[in-house]
C-alpha cells in the first residue's frame, strides 16, 4: 500500500488497488459534484468520467470547490476545474471530460462501476437512474434544497444509493409522477435554486462514505439501498423512514429482460486480440 493511503489502511489491505481500478462517472460538477470529485481523488480513485456542459459563473463561486476568481474571468469549463483538482492530487489519474450533457454520451456510462448524480432536476435523476439500472450500475444521488418556512428557511437534502435488483428511487417515493409533472410545467421558470457550500459538502461526504463502504467495506453491515435525509436546521443526517417501511419490498419497476442492455444491440466489428488462441 502506498504511503499516502496508510492512514486509511482499515479499508482493507487491497483497498488502494480496488479504488485504483474503480471507474467512476460524476454527472454534474457544481456544488455537490465538485466536493465528490475532490474527496474521491484524495481517497485514491484514479479513473474518472466527468460530465458537465457548463462554465464557471459568478454565482458558482460561493460553493464550487476548486474554482478560482481567474476561472470566472476565463470562463473555465467545470470539467476543467474538476480535472485540474484531480490531477493536482493524483497526476497519474485518468480523467475523461465530457463538456456536454450525459444523455448525449450515455454509452460512456456503461463501463462505469458507479455513477454519482449531482443533478438539479427530478427528470434528470429519473432518466439517469433508468440508464444506470439498464447496465447494472449502482447510482448514488445527492441533492439539496431550501424551502421557505414560517420562521425562516429549511435546509434539507438527500443521499440515495439506488442499487440494481433493489429498491429504486420511485419505490422510495423520492421520484413521484406529480413531482416530475410539476417540474415539467415550471420548466425554465424556476431560476437558480438555493445552494450553499456546507450543505453540499455534508451531502457529498455522506455519499463518498456510502461509496467507500460499498467498494472497500470496513464493517459487515452492508446496505444495498441507502436513503439518507439531511436536515440542515438540526445538522443531522438520518436514514429515511421511507426506506425502513419498504425494506421487505421488491422493486417492481426494473424487472424485465428488456430493461437490461441495449434495446437493439448490434455487434460492432470484432477485433479478436483477447480471443482464445486468436
Amino acid at each position: 500500500m502506498k504511503e499516502r493511503f496508510k492512514r486509511q489502511s482499515f479499508l482493507g489491505a487491497r483497498s488502494d488497488l480496488i479504488l485504483n481500478d474503480c471507474v467512476v462517472a460524476i454527472i454534474g460538477l457544481g456544488g455537490g459534484g465538485s466536493h465528490v470529485v475532490q474527496q474521491l481523488a484524495h481517497l485514491g480513485v484514479y479513473n474518472f468520467i466527468l460530465f458537465d456542459p457548463d462554465r464557471v459563473e459568478e454565482t458558482n463561486l460561493n460553493r464550487l470547490i476548486g474554482a478560482t476568481a481567474q476561472d470566472l474571468v476565463e470562463g473555465t469549463l467545470k470539467t476543467v476545474v474538476a480535472s485540474r483538482m484531480i490531477k493536482g492530487i493524483n497526476p497519474d489519474a485518468s480523467v475523461e471530460c465530457i463538456n456536454d450533457t450525459w444523455q448525449e454520451h450515455h454509452a460512456l456510462l456503461r463501463g462505469c462501476d458507479v455513477i454519482f448524480g449531482c443533478l438539479d432536476s427530478y427528470r434528470d435523476r429519473y432518466e439517469l437512474e433508468i440508464a444506470s439500472r439498464r447496465y447494472l450500475t449502482p447510482y448514488l444521488d445527492i441533492g439539496m434544497d431550501v424551502h421557505e418556512a414560517d420562521e425562516g428557511f429549511c435546509v434539507s437534502g438527500q443521499v440515495i444509493l439506488s442499487m440494481p435488483d433493489h429498491l429504486c428511487m420511485r419505490c422510495l417515493g423520492f421520484l413521484r409522477e406529480e413531482l416530475l409533472a410539476r417540474e415539467a410545467e415550471n420548466y425554465g421558470a424556476a431560476g437558480g435554486r438555493p445552494q450553499v457550500v456546507w450543505a453540499n459538502g455534508i451531502l457529498a461526504s455522506a455519499a463518498v462514505g456510502v461509496f467507500t463502504q460499498l467498494f472497500t467495506p470496513w464493517h459487515k453491515s452492508h446496505a444495498a439501498t441507502v436513503y439518507l435525509e439531511y436536515d440542515g436546521n438540526t445538522s443531522s443526517i438520518t436514514s429515511s423512514n421511507r426506506l425502513a417501511s419498504m425494506k421487505d419490498r421488491e422493486c417492481p419497476h426494473f424487472v424485465g429482460f428488456r430493461d437490461l442492455g441495449d434495446p437493439f444491440w448490434i455487434p460492432e466489428p470484432v477485433r479478436a486480440e483477447r480471443s482464445l488462441g486468436g
Binding site: I18, D21, C22, A107, L108, R110, G111, D113, V114, R134, Y135, L136, T137, P138, M163, P164, D165, H166, Q213, L214, F215, P217, H222, A223, A224, F257, R258, L260, G261, D262, W265, I266, P267, E268, P269, V270, R271, A272, E273, R274, S275, L276, G277, G278
Partner: protein, 173 residues
C-alpha cells in the same frame, strides 16, 4: 476489445444456492444464465445477467466420465428460452475451490459443441460459459463473427459489497 460481465449479488447468490445442491447421481450441477448485452465505448461489450435457469434433475445424463452431463432436454429448454426472449444464454457451473477458476478441457470441448446451437435461436447475441469458484469467476463468450471464444476481461458482482475480478490469462488454454 473488452468484454465485461455483470451480475447482481442476489442473482449470483441464487446461482450458488442452486448449484450447490446435491444431485441424485451427477457429481455436480449446471445451469444457464440468460443475459442481455450492451456496447461499450470505445470498443467492447458488457454482458448483463438477467435470470438463472437451473437444469432439472431429470435432464442430466448418467455419464461417469464427467461431473455433469446435460441431456438434450436441458439444451432444448435453454434454446427455447433464448428463442422466446431476446437473450444470450451462458452455461454456468462451479469448480469447488477458492481462487481463480478456469475451464477444464472437457468444459471447453462440450461448450464449444452446444454454443453454436444458440446462434440458430439468437444469431445476433453472444452466448457462452461461466465457471465459478467460491470466491471468483471466469467466463468465455462466443459470437458468430469471431472464430474463437473471447475471455471476459472483467467480472463484476453488483451489490453490497461490490466485487470485481479481472479476466484470467487465456494463455492457460
Amino acid at each position: 476489445m473488452i468484454v465485461a460481465f455483470k451480475i447482481t449479488g442476489r442473482l449470483l447468490a441464487r446461482v450458488y444456492e442452486d448449484l450447490s445442491r446435491p444431485h441424485p447421481f451427477a457429481a455436480e450441477r449446471v445451469g444457464f444464465l440468460s443475459c442481455r448485452v450492451g456496447a461499450l465505448r470505445p470498443a467492447g461489450w458488457v454482458v448483463l445477467a438477467h435470470d438463472f435457469h437451473p437444469v432439472a434433475d431429470a435432464d442430466y445424463l448418467r455419464d461417469r466420465s464427467v461431473g455433469a452431463m446435460m441431456g438434450p432436454a436441458a439444451i432444448r429448454n435453454a434454446l427455447q428460452f433464448a428463442l422466446g426472449n431476446e437473450v444470450g444464454m451462458f452455461h454456468v457451473h462451479i469448480h469447488g475451490h477458492r481462487g481463480n477458476p478456469w475451464f477444464s478441457g472437457v468444459d471447453l470441448r462440450e461448450t464449444a459443441k452446444f454454443v453454436p446451437d444458440f446462434w440458430h435461436a439468437r444469431p445476433q447475441l453472444v452466448h457462452g460459459a461461466i465457471v465459478l469458484s467460491w470466491d471468483s469467476a471466469a467466463g468465455l463468450c462466443w459470437h458468430p463473427q469471431v472464430p474463437k471464444p473471447i475471455v471476459f476481461s472483467k467480472f463484476s458482482v453488483v451489490g453490497a459489497p461490490m466485487r470485481t475480478w479481472r479476466g484470467q490469462d487465456e494463455g492457460k488454454v
